[in-house]
């Protein structure tokens, strides 16, 4: 028994070493434990094709950034790799808002764990001119990124932008690096992306490569997501959806490249108040409209956030230890109140 455990450890160590040399995550594709391919994990149609990856991911539970949408996380086998280069594509320059928005939502998720670390957004002058410069007020309002946490680097030439990105990718003092490039420049080839990927792996920080108006081409990034904007649902009010209003930002995500996932499309909605993604599906919207509970979003950005509704009960359950609070128990019944507290009577 002991021998097998030791042997398994050795195998794991060797596999990890090989992975380090190759610069990839080790993977052994196998069906999810305890589930046959037929019944799936119950995450919808198409989940029967979901494959769980074992290996380093199992050894390092922190290797992935869960997006928070069950179906997408399952397709990506746990989320986006944290220590890697991830490509986020937009088909046209006018999609820059959606592409940047999706990347910043991911950064916002990262900042939940790495509080206070700055992020660096590198772009060429061309893209900042074409697609607009990041606006700190909007970033703060939508993604909770403080202006003091933001660093921008604008390079007139692509070479310089790549150099800054490479230098930044190996910084552990940055929460994330965003590199934004337009089109398919020759210089951003397999070698350049491999260099970025290797540095990101070394530092353990994500590098998001935003590519506006670019054709997919071979790169070293393990994951490529293609982002487009999706029509937003109307704002939810107590009296139902407000007609003609524009609610939370929504994105259509397609997996363009992934080791594990099959191509698929997801419509995600970013909730700026709770700072998390929700997947939008037709029937779910209807349910939500009927159920008035989550209409008012919970307070955000506070030290002691309010518990999600459902956990807090107005009337404690019978037999619960905190059924009656001590303060309430110490209250004397109304009849025994002090005389000076009782309402005065004339006479």
């Amino acid at each position: 028994m002991a021998m097998t455990a030791v042997a398994r450890e050795t195998v794991f160590a060797l596999r990890r070493q090989i992975a380090k040399i190759e610069g990839t995550l080790p993977e052994r594709l196998q069906a999810p434990a305890g589930a046959t391919l037929d019944d799936g994990a119950g995450t919808g149609p198409g989940s029967d094709l979901t494959i769980v990856r074992r290996g380093l991911a199992a050894a390092l539970p922190d290797a992935f950034l869960p997006i928070g949408v069950e179906r997408l996380d399952a397709a990506l086998s746990g989320g986006l790799p944290k220590a890697a280069l991830s490509e986020i594509h937009g088909l046209e320059t006018r999609d820059a808002g959606a592409v940047a928005g999706f990347a910043l939502s991911l950064v916002s998720l990262i900042l939940n764990q790495a509080q206070g670390l700055p992020i660096l957004w590198i772009g060429t002058s061309e893209i900042f001119h074409e697609a607009g410069f990041p606006y700190a007020r909007g970033l703060h309002a939508s993604f909770g990124i403080e202006p003091g946490q933001l660093l921008f680097s604008e390079a007139p030439r692509l070479v310089d932008a790549l150099w800054v990105a490479e230098e930044a990718a190996r910084m552990t003092a940055l929460a994330a690096v965003i590199l934004e490039i337009r089109g398919n420049p020759q210089r951003l080839d397999l070698t350049a992306t491999r260099r970025l990927h290797a540095r990101a792996q070394g530092a353990g920080r994500p590098v998001f490569l935003l590519r506006q108006a670019a054709e997919p081409e071979p790169t070293a990034a393990p994951v490529r997501l293609i982002v487009a904007s999706a029509p937003a649902v109307p704002r939810a009010t107590v009296a139902g959806p407000l007609a003609g209003s524009i609610g939370h930002p929504a994105f259509t995500i397609s997996i363009g490249k992934s080791r594990t996932a099959l191509p698929g499309q997801f419509t995600l909605e970013w909730n700026p108040d709770e700072r998390r993604f929700e997947e939008r599906r037709g029937e779910e919207r209807r349910e939500r409209a009927e159920n008035p509970v989550p209409v008012v979003s919970l307070s955000r950005g506070r030290k002691d956030p309010a518990a999600a509704s459902g956990e807090v009960l107005a009337f404690p359950a019978v037999g619960s230890s905190v059924a009656i609070s001590p303060a309430a128990r110490d209250q004397p019944p109304p009849g025994q109140r002090a005389a000076h507290l009782s309402p005065r009577r004339a006479g």
Partner: protein, 492 residues
């Protein structure tokens, strides 16, 4: 021969020895000179180029002393106080300067004296003379009045009363001189004789600290220069440690064998004294400047100066040897980027109290952004929103709002139905707004308040993209200019 225009005539400004041999003189008319010698070569004076040359020479003279000042258009003052022993005494230093200039092709005269005035007179009227302190009077006495650095009018009037040499002026009673010729004459005289101090105004501020290395064999390779920087920085470190300071601005001066001087300066975002880091910064800077620095025959003097210093806070490291300072990594990283790509390579947004969207955030270089040294006491209170529902703001803002063509709106004050932006037609499916933002009257008074008023709309097009459009101006305003539409930003 060099000519310049003075008044209405072209006159000779300067001339060489062969022209002098032809009995030509300064201030002679060009027409006369041509009449005498039709074959002379005349070049138009170029004061700008002369000035540049003189500044280049002054740069080169930095190798002898940090205090180099320009003297009118054709002279340099070098304050060599305390520097001569480095070159083996006054005579040796003067000889070296003269021979180096001679080999560079310049005809130079020099004088060395205890006062600038005496040195000036010695250089121009005696040539290569070293005046020992106290001998100024003996030097000046036989010299003409021009040696006193006085205005030509004063000189003419002094000559008209029979005072033709500096000695004669010195012998004359002072009070009548001052009354008749002004205080400047006596001031110049006293300065030359050392009775009054005269300070020369150096071109460049003197570095608080600088270290240099003279090389027997000139270096040309960038790697060698970097290694030298590392060595110089190591020397610098002990000085900085003794002073308890760190460098904020550093300059590397490379003196080329043939006289050209390259000056490479860089700033750091926090005080620095670590030789390895200084070397790293210069590595980036040199890599960026590779095209501009021409090593030529090599550099024979390398100097590293600290131009600005700041107090250096020692950080206590923990037991693992790592100082708990998150900002240091970022600052160093930014320094390296700045060294390579320039001051504005790394930017940071700073919120500004303004309701105009483009003014509400200022983008400043990283080093100029205010640093929050201590975390705010109550972050909840600091970030309290002004309104319960803060206005929606886009995540990207165009630097200059882009004009949008709007063919029709449903109602004059409402959102557009279609719009054309960058030659593409967009169909508006939903719109929120307007949010009216007026110009800030306390900054500038607009000629027509209505014309600069903006109505912002959040607009979603048929594909689900969300934009921030605004209409500038109001319908039916005082001015007859119709309102125009602009694209100002995009939402997520």
């Amino acid at each position: 021969m060099i000519s310049h225009r003075q008044g209405n005539a072209q006159r000779i400004l300067a001339l060489d020895e062969r022209a002098e041999a032809l009995h030509l003189k300064r201030d002679m008319g060009i027409a006369d000179a041509r009449a005498m010698h039709p074959s002379i070569d005349i070049v138009e004076a170029d004061p700008e180029a002369d000035r540049r040359l003189l500044e280049g020479l002054a740069d080169w003279c930095d190798r002898y002393t940090p205090l180099v000042a320009l003297d009118s258009i054709d002279g340099l003052f070098l304050d060599v106080t305390g520097c001569t022993h480095l070159f083996g005494g006054e005579r040796a230093m003067l000889d070296e300067i003269l021979s180096r200039f001679f080999h560079q092709g310049f005809d130079v005269r020099a004088g060395l004296a205890g006062t600038p005035g005496a040195a000036w007179a010695a250089a121009r009227f005696c040539g290569d003379r070293i005046v020992v302190s106290g001998e100024e009077e003996a030097l000046l006495a036989p010299l003409p009045l021009a040696a006193l650095r006085i205005a030509p009018e004063t000189r003419t009037s002094l000559e008209s009363v029979g005072l033709r040499t500096a000695g004669a002026v010195m012998a004359a009673p002072r009070a009548p001189l001052a009354r008749r010729f002004g205080a400047t004459l006596l001031l110049r005289l006293d300065q030359a004789l050392g009775r009054l101090d005269e300070a020369i105004s150096p071109r460049l501020p003197v570095a608080p600290l600088s270290v240099e290395r003279h090389l027997a064999e000139p270096v040309t390779l960038t790697e060698e220069i970097e290694r030298l920087v590392g060595m110089l920085a190591t020397t610098l470190k002990t000085d900085l440690e003794r002073r308890g300071e760190g460098a904020r601005t550093l300059a590397l001066l490379l003196f080329r064998v043939d006289g050209a001087v390259s000056r490479i300066a860089l700033g750091t975002s926090r005080p620095m004294r670590e030789p390895l880091l200084i070397r790293k910064l210069f590595h980036e800077r040199l890599a960026a400047l590779e095209q501009q620095i021409d090593a030529g025959y090599g550099f024979d003097l390398v100097r590293l100066s600290v131009l600005a210093v700041a107090a250096f806070d020692m950080q206590q490291a923990d037991l693992t040897g790592e100082a708990a300072d998150d900002g240091a990594d970022i600052a160093l990283f930014v320094d390296r980027i700045r060294a390579r790509l320039g001051e504005g390579a790394v930017l940071q947004p700073v919120p500004v109290e303004s309701h105009l969207p483009e003014r509400a955030v200022a983008i400043v270089p990283f080093t100029e952004a205010p640093r929050r040294t201590t975390p705010p006491k109550r972050p909840d209170k600091m970030q309290a929103p002004k309104t319960i529902f803060p206005p929606e703001r886009p995540i990207r803002l165009f630097r200059a709002p882009e004009p949008v063509d709007v063919p029709a709106t449903e109602m004059p004050e409402g959102p557009p139905l279609h719009f054309r932006w960058r030659r593409a037609l967009y169909r508006v499916t939903r719109a929120e707004g307007p949010e009216r933002i007026a110009a800030e009257w306390w900054r500038e008074v607009p000629s027509d308040p209505a014309a600069s008023t903006r109505d912002y709309f959040r607009i979603e097009d048929a594909d689900g993209r969300r934009y921030w459009l605004y209409r500038q101006g109001l319908y039916g305003g005082v001015s007859q200019i119709p309102p125009r539409w602009f694209m100002h930003g995009v939402f997520a």
